[in-house]
């Protein structure tokens, strides 16, 4: 394992400290329990809190700030945060209109946020994100995984919350965006969890994992590497099958890097995906390309399509000022 590490046990706190220092105009870091909040506490709005295992940066702390999250709770690498973190974060950012948790749909995250919600002295609601359409078999009752589409949910819900909308309205928008969003990823290499010290899974030099999860969990199938157009074509078809969009649908296309794939290749993927979706009559009117939901040092990328309507478009376009997303302000 070659990584920039001092001591394995210190990786998380040193990284969080660097993040807080680099963005000290935007965020404050609280340790033990670990959570980050906006520098300036917002008032009279639903407090939006997300969190999850670390290793997916900039998710979630990179989305703290005006127009998105009020707080984020980072767990250990690829491990859900614990209820004491959510409770402390809620205490810090609660602004009299309740707490909305945005949680990626994994058993651990769901249970930890659920226990936090049960112990919380404030009104709360939860939006579960489940945009990963790689896992489709309906007998898997834990349902689909939450991946890069979570960023779109956090952006839109965060925007609505700034208008003073109530908790139920924020939850409803989050659920709507999630239901109109589908993603699928592909890995060219594994990732290495610092504390484990070796790759999470074995993959040959000429293999790819189609439908991989953001922790390196296996996806649909292992197959031989092919040309990019063929790989992207399979992903686009899986997304279309999942969302079944009407022709003339308007959409946001997000190409997300998993950490070790250069932007040059992400744009190449965008080029193919945009063309293929257009051929299916979908009008791509919004785009985002970059590392927004990573899997440590995994090489690979995911494609996310979000079907827009006027409400989602308005909240996607609205001003946002965070470490990782920033526009119109």
């Amino acid at each position: 394992m070659k990584k920039f590490i001092n001591k394995v046990d210190d990786v998380l706190v040193e990284s969080l400290s660097g993040f807080a220092l680099a963005h000290n105009d935007l965020v404050s870091l609280h340790l033990d329990p670990n959570f980050l909040t906006r520098k300036q506490k917002a008032s009279n709005k639903v407090a939006i809190i997300s969190g999850g295992g670390s290793g997916h940066e900039p998710l979630h702390a990179g989305y703290i700030g005006y127009g998105m999250l009020d707080a984020a709770c980072p767990g250990h690498v690829f491990t859900s945060p614990t209820p004491d973190q959510m409770l402390a974060a809620a205490e810090a950012v609660h602004a009299d209109k309740g707490i909305l948790f945005i949680v990626k749909n994994y058993a651990g995250d769901v249970m930890n946020f659920e226990m936090a919600a049960e112990m919380l002295p404030y009104e709360s609601a939860t939006v579960l994100t489940s945009d990963d359409c790689a896992v489709v078999n309906s007998t898997y009752t834990t349902g689909r995984r939450g991946v890069a589409g979570t960023v779109i949910v956090e952006k839109c819900v965060g925007s609505l919350a700034e208008t003073g909308a109530d908790l139920q309205a924020c939850k409803a928008l989050g659920d709507k965006v999630n239901s109109r969003t589908a993603s699928m990823g592909v890995a060219l290499t594994s990732c290495t969890v610092p504390a484990a010290g070796r790759p999470t899974f074995d993959i040959g030099d000429t293999e790819l994992e189609m439908g991989v999860g953001i922790h390196g969990e296996p996806g649909r199938r292992r197959e031989a590497v092919r040309e990019a157009d063929a790989i992207v074509n399979d992903i686009v078809n899986a997304i279309l099958e999942s969302l079944k969009p009407d022709s003339n649908s308007e959409a946001l296309l997000l190409i997300n890097g998993f950490g070790a794939t250069p932007l040059m290749e992400l744009y190449l993927i965008y080029n193919t995906a945009a063309r293929l979706f257009s051929e299916h009559g979908i009008k791509i009117s919004r785009s985002l390309v970059g590392n927004y939901t990573t899997a440590l040092d995994m090489a690979g990328a995911s494609v996310t399509l979000c079907l827009l309507d006027n409400e989602i478009k308005q909240h996607w376009d609205s001003p946002v000022h965070t470490a990782a997303l920033r526009w119109n302000r």
């Binding site: 614990t82 651990g108 007998t139 969990e217 296996p218």
Partner: protein, 207 residues
């Protein structure tokens, strides 16, 4: 159950987890995300370090404290599930307030039921419940038949092992391996393995 037993059980569990590092890691890398061993090691280590604090508590308070501590240190799915187990167990120990095997069996079963509710899972879904539910049932049955502690612990070690091995042929419908479908067949569930190890470690302490 006396507090000194809880303390030695905590040490035995921690040792057993450490002794099975490579097995737990490879199981979780095969069908999970590779963090199960690290999380279990961190959680059980924390409990061992709490020994001085736990020693001064009544058994039910000690079990509750263990639950809350696991909740804030393990994370993932194992944290809330194991925490729910110890809290469920503590509740029965407190209510019954005796040291009979029947009480311990019913406390164990209550803990397992808490896991079932929290995880919204059941038998046959390739999870820790495939070890815990048969063990709870057998513990309850043997305690009702007035079996000795030694007989019960010997039987539970075998049942836990059978339950753990049985997860190998199951398709996962709960937990992170659920995304794998048939590819999970042929792999033992790491959560079932760590539960089997914990049960074995505690049962081996019974003289």
């Amino acid at each position: 159950m006396k507090s000194p037993f809880i303390l030695s059980a905590a040490v035995a569990i921690h040792d057993s987890i450490l002794n099975h590092e490579s097995e737990l890691e490879s199981l979780d890398r095969a069908i999970g995300d590779g963090d199960h061993y690290i999380n279990m090691k961190r959680g059980t280590q924390t409990i061992v370090e709490m020994q001085p604090e736990l020693a001064s508590l009544t058994p039910d308070a000690a079990l509750n404290k263990i639950g809350m501590k696991l909740l804030s240190t393990i994370g993932g799915a194992s944290g809330p599930l194991l925490a729910s187990f110890f809290m469920g167990m503590a509740k029965v120990i407190k209510e019954k307030n005796d040291e009979s095997l029947i009480t311990y069996a019913s406390a164990f079963a209550a803990g397992v039921e808490m896991i079932r509710q929290r995880g919204k899972a059941d038998l046959g879904e390739k999870t820790m419940l495939d070890v815990l539910m048969p063990v709870a049932n057998q513990f309850t049955a043997l305690a009702a038949q007035n079996a000795s502690a030694k007989e019960i612990s010997a039987a539970l070690i075998l049942t836990a092992e059978q339950g753990m091995l049985a997860t190998k042929d199951l398709i996962a419908t709960k937990g992170r391996a659920a995304g794998l479908g048939e590819r999970a067949i042929g792999h033992i569930d790491p959560g079932a393995k760590s539960c089997q190890l914990m049960i074995e470690a505690v049962c081996n302490l019974i003289e």
